[in-house]
Every structure is written in C-alpha cells, then in structure tokens.
Symmetry: C2
Subunit: 405 residues, 2 copies
Amino acid sequence: MFFSKLNSLKDTIEIIDNNQKIMGNEVIPLREAHKRVLAENIESFQDSPPFDKSVMDGFAVKGKDTFGASDSSPKTLKIVDSISAGVESKKHLKNGEAIIIATGAPIPKGADAVLMKEYTTIDDDEVIITNQVTPGENISPKSEDIKKGDKVLSKNTFIRYQEMGMIASAGYDEIKVFEKPKVKVIITGNELVEPTKDPLDAAHIINSNQFTMLSMIEDCGAVSSIECVDDTFESVENAILKASEEYDVVMTTGGTALSKGDVVLDVVETNGKLLCHGISIRPGKPFGAGIINNRMVFAFSGQPVAAMTQFDMFARKYLFKMQGREFKYPIVKRRSRLKIPSQLGRTDFVRAFSDDKYARHILNRGSGIIRSMIDANSYIIIDENNEGCQKDDLVNVVYFNLMSW
Amino acid sequence: MFFSKLNSLKDTIEIIDNNQKIMGNEVIPLREAHKRVLAENIESFQDSPPFDKSVMDGFAVKGKDTFGASDSSPKTLKIVDSISAGVESKKHLKNGEAIIIATGAPIPKGADAVLMKEYTTIDDDEVIITNQVTPGENISPKSEDIKKGDKVLSKNTFIRYQEMGMIASAGYDEIKVFEKPKVKVIITGNELVEPTKDPLDAAHIINSNQFTMLSMIEDCGAVSSIECVDDTFESVENAILKASEEYDVVMTTGGTALSKGDVVLDVVETNGKLLCHGISIRPGKPFGAGIINNRMVFAFSGQPVAAMTQFDMFARKYLFKMQGREFKYPIVKRRSRLKIPSQLGRTDFVRAFSDDKYARHILNRGSGIIRSMIDANSYIIIDENNEGCQKDDLVNVVYFNLMSW
C-alpha cells in the first residue's frame, strides 16, 4: 500500500474518536479504587462529621461562662464529666459547668464551645480557666463537610487520594468503577530477540518495543499482555484474530510500512475494516488503525520513537476514554531556544527539554533514536499549517508526565 | 505536651532530611522495572542499531547508480538478492546492482543507500527506478543511538517508558533497583469505624484516613499495610514497636494533640527519640516525627486534611529519597484571584484551584473538610515571612499531580 494520500493528524484523531469503545463496570472494594474512575455518582449515606465534633483536646463549655477569663482574671468551672473520642456524654451541661473532652468526641448537650487544654488548670473537681472562647469555637459542626443525601462526587470522576477519603466518609466500602481495558500487544519482526549481554547474531535487533509498550499501557491505567510473532501473514492473522476475541484492544508494532512486510494492515483489511493508514506526522507516518471483531486495532511502527509518538497521539486518549476519563493534551506555551524547520501539511512532534519558560529541542531525533526521548521531557508540536518556528517564537509544548494516568 | 515552641517548616524539613534512610537494592526482571529507580549505572553491552540498518522498505543500492534517475529519465538496476528483516545478504553489491531490502534488515556490503519502494517498479530480475538517493539515505548507521560500552543511564534515574526501551536496547533483561519501602500505617482512634451505609452509632466516625494514607503512599512508589488500634498507650506502643521491627517506615494518624489522647508521641519519647512535635504550618500544626528502632515514625494528625498536608510536606520527599529519587516541590507562580490573610511566623498551605495563570483558593478550608481537597488541584503556599497576599499578587503554587511518583 502506497501512502499516496496521508491522513491529517486531526482527521485521524477524529476517526479514532468515532470508533471509541467504553468499558463495562465492575464493583470493587474501596481499598482497591485508587486511580480508578467512578462509574456511579456518590450520594452520601452519612453526615460528616456525624455530630458536632470537638477539634481540640480541652473542655466543653458554654462560651458565655468563659467571657472575660484571662491570666490576670481567671474563672472557675465545675468538672461534671470526662469523654474521650468514641464516647458520648450522658450529661447535659449547665451554667458554670465544664466537661473534659478529647479531639473527635461529640460536643455534650448544653455546651457550645471547646476551650483548649492549654488555657486550663485542673484543681480537683474544678477547672481554672485563663482564656475565653466564643460560641462555636473549636467545634466542627455536624455535616460541615458532607451532608447526608448530597451528591458528593459524579460519575466519571478520577479517584485520587482525597476522593478515596471522601467516598469512605460518604459510607461506601465498595464502589462501581469502569473496568480496566486488557490490551494485547503483538510484536512483529523476525529480526527481534530478547535483551542479551552476549554479542547478537547477524541481522538481529533487541526487541525494546515490548518494554516501552507495556509501560505506556500501564501509564494509561490499562493492563497488557505481550506476544511476539513472525512476520508472516498467517502468524500475524492468527495472533490478531485470537487477541480480538480475548482482549479489549489490540496493538501491534512493526509491519506497517509498504511492502511484503506490511502484513498487519493487510490482516486488518482482510478480516475487518481499515480506518486509516499513513498519517502526516513526524515521527510516526506509518501508523494504521482498524476494527476487527468490534475491537480497535492500533498498528504502530516498529521504529521505537515513532511507536512512542503514535501511542501518545492516538492510544492514550482512547484508553483514557475507555475508562470513562477525559483526556486533553495539556498544551502550554514556551519560547523555542532554537529555530525549528518543519514542512507545511505535516504535524511535527519535536522532542524537547522544556522548563517553565523555554523549550530546547533535541537535535538528533531520528525515529529510531531512543536517546532523543530520554533527553526530552516534552514535545514541541509544530502544526501542519506551520513551516516551523524561529528562535524565541512561542510554541505549543506538551509535557510527557502530564499525559499519564 | 504543650506546643510552647513550634518548629518552623524549614527546620522540620531539615530535621527529617538529617534522618533520611536509604533502601537497599534488589535485582528484578526488566519487565517489572517501570517506575522503579536505577541502583546501578547502565553501560551498554550492545550497539544500537547493531549494524547499518535500513529504515525503509525498498532497494539497497549504490547512491551514485541512482544519480539523475527521475520519472522522465528512469534508470535500471539488476536485482541480485532479496532480504527481509532478520536476514543478512551474502552478496557484495557491485555497480549497477540492487538488493530488495525490508525495514530493519542490515545494509548489504557494497550498498550505501536505500531507495524507497515507492520509486521503483520490478521488471523480472531488474528494477526500474525513478528517483535518486544520496549515500547514507534511509540508513540508520550502526551505533547511531547507543554505542557499546557507553554509560547510557546513571544510577538514580527514574525509569519511564523510554528508559525501559533504552535499558533493553543496552542488553539488560534484569537490573538493580532500589527496594520499595514497606510502610506500616497505624490508625489510632476509638471513635473510628469502617465505612457503612447504615446509621452510625453515637460518637462514631468513619475511618477515612486509612484510605487516603494508602493511596498517598502508593503515590510515592511505596507499599503499605494498615492497622487500626485503640488509643491506649499499650496498644499504640505494641503496634509501633512491632511495626518498627517489620517495616521500613511507620506512620500513624491521630493522637498527636496535647492531652491524654496524645499517645503516639509519648510512645516515641518513651521508646526512641522524638525529633519534632508541633509545626508552625496551617493546616497541620499537630505533626510529630521520631525514630524508633532506627525507623522513622511519622505521626500525622487525625484530621483528614491536616494529615494530607503533613504527608505532602514531610513524607513524600522522605519516601522518594528512600528510593534514590530526588524530590523537589515544583513551585510555579500564579496570580491570586482573591486576597488571602495569613499570620506572620506560620506557613499556610491554602488549597486552591489553579490554572495556567490564576489560583483561586477554596474558602471553606477547615482541617477536617475533605471537600476542600476535592475542589482543589494545588496549594498556594504563603510562607512564614508573609502576612498573606492581596488580590492579583503573584503567589507560589504547587500542583498536587506533580508531587506524585
């Protein structure tokens, strides 16, 4: 297949968007829900706090009983009870009385403030106080944080550590989340061998893509299984058909160029629907996508950097959205340290090291130079309507670490 | 214990730094190394590519044999061999000859360029070419990416997906990394119960801290085990002593205030060395740290938001550094949408929602209000030499998602 008409980046993203699949839901223990995505609204079963709560260790009092108390003019209250956290006082506080109270304990009836222990001295069954508190002081009122019945989190919320706390406080010990996509990665290439410290046989190359692919998939909240197959049509066809029945997404590397080696897209065309092949981007032109057995097949280049860029552009968003999570490239503006040439009609993903102000692109950036991704922390994106940029021009930058799950 | 003299944030960070422990090393399969930290330099056992490699499907040729070829003036070369990836040609290319070559295959001897298949037509044992190539074109030269013997990655490098590919290409199928810290989290509080949808018994509160703690620890590349214990000195002492023997770090929540409930720091003082107690920050004043059995004990507040902020300030850096990874708060400048009052001598971590230009702080931000962390994506940090800020002042902002592993 000749790339006679390359798809634009925008069209390709749209084609893939139009074929977006969404995972089903599963109920899991809250303990395992960190970094999952809610598949239900969280409506609280509880008030939080569930009662007017002391936020200090000290004495529950009537505020007005403390007015005017100071070091030079102490006041005395009668201690009628003592409660620790988890315990409710049976007493109803009267004028001139105080109850010893610990952080987290419910405010006793009749009390309206907590005086910190620091301002008190116990003398037998009395407490001498040297400071005043206003009503409400050192109390966290019932339902101040969460009100029973309120929707506290919406479906499609990504669960960070603070959402974990919120969901627990709302009374849920298990929740409904989107399932994680299971991704089959099929690595094609007769030349590929496992990493070895020994000299390589002639014409052999170490299979590094399997390691970058499994890591990138993990970076998208999904799980992967890797398989290496021969370049033959039959081997690739068998592997893809089987994967399309057992997995949620199929990804391949290699075999996307135009030749007898271009087996992956031939398999897709023969067994399903080819959505696109050949994209006007650099690196990463030989990318294809298609549908087999209602499963998306991403066909990435065998060139390591091309495969990474193609994954960043097309697969991340897809895997995020499968799990109910929005994905937006967090584009920021930086000044280019150097002039960057580009070609009209092609979108360039120029690896760069960017700081808070500037982006300096990596000079040696062939699509097989992994070093260029190691030295970089970001892409400068030169869009297709642009012939590159001059030194100090403002350019669009995306940081790698902001594209992760 | 009365917080008569609070430690400053800076002093506390320094005290903890001075007691930093570093984990040992372990050798693991490369497949499991994503997001670990290298505990050895990676010196390459291989050249990458290991030979002059074709990056296109087409014909290996002598560049000079193609000079002048065009659609209107095609040239003809004799096909003498055909090689796919993984195969080396036995032929030595002579003038006027061409060898069919696939992406990834080694350039045959005598050839110095690859002409893309698009510009060729096969006619029996000859190929008609309609374009020219310069010597070196479409070839990735041997060791262009990695040179055998070179140090390609340094000890203490964090392993992203691109480092995974680099390490594989250098010939390593297993590597030495820093061990993950095992963290014991001891939750104190007689009032705490598991999440439930049923009405809570009087004075009970749902234990949400266990869920935020395990998630934050996971966000630092470490693993956790949670235990809930009574507030008594004996229970807390037993739990901490046992944990200090079996785990790398001990963390507690609750029992850090001044009162009979202040058991955690009493246990630390009795059994080890108290490093600090009471920090001039907000939220999070009642934080303590100490050493028992040569293990760091972090004593966090029982108040959910105070515990999160304390973890962010003191534990993240510690857990990163245990694993050989540097941690720097990625502070950026934003304009405050609103006036923020603060107190001289105290560092405030004001939860805020920040975009690329502005930070708007959350108004209701008691140390128990989890909602304030949900609505926020960042802290505005008002340092101790500052009495707050005015609307539109530039303030220091740290994004939550940039403090993660």
